[in-house]
Amino acid sequence: MAAAITSSRELDDFEAVVRLHWLKVFRFALASLRDRHAAETLAQDCFFRAYKARNGFRGEASIGTWLMQIAVNLVRDHARDRRLQFWKRARLTAVDMNTAARWLPDAGASPEAAASMKEQVQAVWDAAGSLSERQRTVFLLRFVEDMDLLEIAAATGLKEGTVKAHLARALQAVRERVKGTK
């Protein structure tokens, strides 16, 4: 109860909420949609919806989980919106965003090690791209956002067992791709 009140009060300073959670929502959208412009639009939409619905926030989950719940729904709507399919394809070909390896920070590794890392990152990125929308969502929430299974269940509206099943399938697909980089 006390946590719920605290969370509700946190929403009073919505500017701070945006500052605190923007990156998390944006990068989830970016990894899901693979389009920077669409990810920015989705993240803005997510916070706008959260702002409008803030009075209905009961603090049953953390603000971060609540925001991810909205973002997950928006990603799902985006994937289902067939009217955008053409533009999604057109944008992917127009903007060179379909590679994750170039995002890898340079940690001073040897050229061989760096090349190997990039190859592995690209393998995971490709595998994530081949997953179903739900498997990808669960995978990204677990391995990019470090959310635990219960948080993922809350954000996706799935049961914990279903989350596990999706995650297991996603991991198998990723493992197959990563093994191919040896």
């Binding site: 923007w22 944006f26 970016l30 990125w125 297991a168």
Partner: protein
């Protein structure tokens, strides 16, 4: 021959569900350990890459000026009252104007009817009235002769 971890067991391990049996096998099997390490490293690098990509975007400035405070505010109330007043006054003014026009039309109609009535009620049309003075309709032929002689 050592039986290696199944795909399900590897997923279980990666999800953090590490039973003593799994840990024992990983400790004893270099192949499985190597595969798990490779997968873990790939996932960690992937997370770093996506997070790095996200960091290149800065959060937008949140401008919700109209709603930083509560929904109730005096300027907003005055505006709402003015809008309400206009909404109420406009139909009333319009209705009064319509009634006024209807009254004017009714008056004009009644005046026209009066004029028509008076015109219709005349026995002889106005242009023929001088002739009426020459004729007495109810007089006998003798009286008519006297009247003509007097004239």
């Amino acid at each position: 021959m050592i039986e290696h971890l199944s795909a399900e067991q590897i997923s279980q391990w990666m999800m953090g569900e590490r039973t003593p049996q799994l840990e024992e096998h990983v400790a004893e099997c270099p192949e499985c350990r190597s595969e798990l390490e490779q997968l873990e490293t790939a996932l960690v690098q992937f997370r770093s890459a996506v997070r790095a990509a996200g960091h290149s975007a800065s959060p937008p400035v949140w401008r919700a000026t109209a709603s930083h405070g509560p929904w109730f505010s005096w300027p907003r109330l005055v505006l709402a009252a003015a809008a309400l007043l206009i909404l109420v006054a406009l139909p009333l003014t319009w209705r009064a104007r319509v009634q006024e026009r209807a009254a004017e039309a009714a008056l004009a109609d009644s005046q026209l009817l009066e004029r028509v009535d008076s015109a219709v009620s005349q026995a002889v049309p106005e242009p023929m009235e001088p002739l009426v003075n020459l004729v007495t309709w109810n007089a006998s032929p003798a009286e008519k002769n006297q009247k003509v002689q007097r004239q």
